[in-house]
Symmetry: C2
Subunit: 215 residues, 2 copies
């Protein structure tokens, strides 16, 4: 069955891997699955046709036959559950890999989202710098804990998994802040993720959209 | 195999359902599973013994034989995957229920966490009210979209699922803000969740801890 995902017609980051479709593209590439991309404008994302696919008016969505999914975590987990390459076979190891997916999305990413909200929504406020500093302290607590857990390991729990895919994607989101630089093992972990051929293909496919090369 | 979870020795909310162990207790009760609770102090949560179970030093954790899990979403999903009562049998419906779990944790809860951070961490700042108002506007956008999707339905996607368990738990987190009152269908949805016998048992077991009745 054909897999179709949605992505930004014009990504706010210029197609540098920060839009959430990168996470889904990466998972599809790890699993060796072909997919089609339908680009949507910011206007279209707020219309009924798109809201029927994604109640919160965002991208990506995922369609495969009768199945319509939203939420990147759910889409990546669906791919990982149905295809080899993203989750270990052992039942307990599989549960732990899924735990790292949730940790990325519900423990590490929320203060990052808060930081972006502070940058973009409270941009004109005189107290922006003070707020950003408080938020970045909270992000640093999470990064310190993650760094302590990772230690010298290549991946969070043995072999590369969907948990690493999601955590690396979430770390990518704050690389431009400079906060990662204090944790060389996390910076190296992210670099290992980005060096994977599947990530490279995902990145290049997303970048091509912005460069006007998407067919 | 015995299931053991951890919970706050002294919950910040006095045991009124807001600590994340409630979500796990609720899932265990829906699945009809017995469990033991080990209480941990805030000091103990930062020590190596607890960090070995939970790298981010939080509760709950979940132990069952050799399996050690953290992250509420992952624990609830693990329970839901291995026992009846929390996920539909149909594969597509199951994927959609899991999507609602992720939507609760990665789309609806993050601005709520931001609100709590603003209340507790920036309490002494003169710009707190202004920041809270901006955050509450963002929460209202999510609640409005969720309300539009739910409409007159009882649950988010057909029968009650782990997706509803998680979404109701996330809505519970902001009830005290008064923000839910603008969306009567969401308030009724939360009330339906709270009326479930499994939720009542989970709530009472957690409340008993704070009342000093935990054995």
């Amino acid at each position: 069955m054909t897999i179709t995902i949605t992505a930004f017609e014009k990504s706010p980051d210029g197609g540098k891997g920060l839009a959430r479709d990168t996470r889904v593209r990466w998972a599809l590439e790890e699993a060796g699955l072909a997919y089609q991309v339908r680009l949507v404008s910011f206007d279209a994302m707020k219309q009924a046709a798109h809201l029927a696919l994604h109640p919160f008016g965002q991208i990506p969505t995922y369609q495969e036959g009768d199945l319509v999914l939203f939420e990147t975590g759910a889409i990546v987990l669906h791919i990982a559950t149905h295809h080899a390459g993203l989750l270990p076979a052992d039942d307990n190891a599989r549960a732990r890999a899924i735990a790292w997916m949730f940790a990325a999305l519900n423990t590490v990413e929320p203060p990052e989202l808060e930081r972006e909200a502070a940058i973009f929504l409270e941009g004109g406020k005189p107290w922006r710098a003070e707020l950003l500093s408080l938020i970045e302290d909270r992000i640093a607590v999470r990064l310190g804990q993650l760094s302590a857990h990772l230690g010298n390991a290549d991946w969070l729990d043995g072999a590369f998994s969907a948990g690493d895919l999601m955590m690396a994607s979430v770390l990518l989101r704050i690389r431009s802040s400079g906060l990662l630089e204090k944790y060389p093992n996390l910076a190296a972990y992210l670099a290992r993720g980005e060096a994977r051929p599947a990530y490279r293909r995902a990145f290049e496919a997303q970048f091509a959209v912005n460069a006007g090369k998407h067919l």
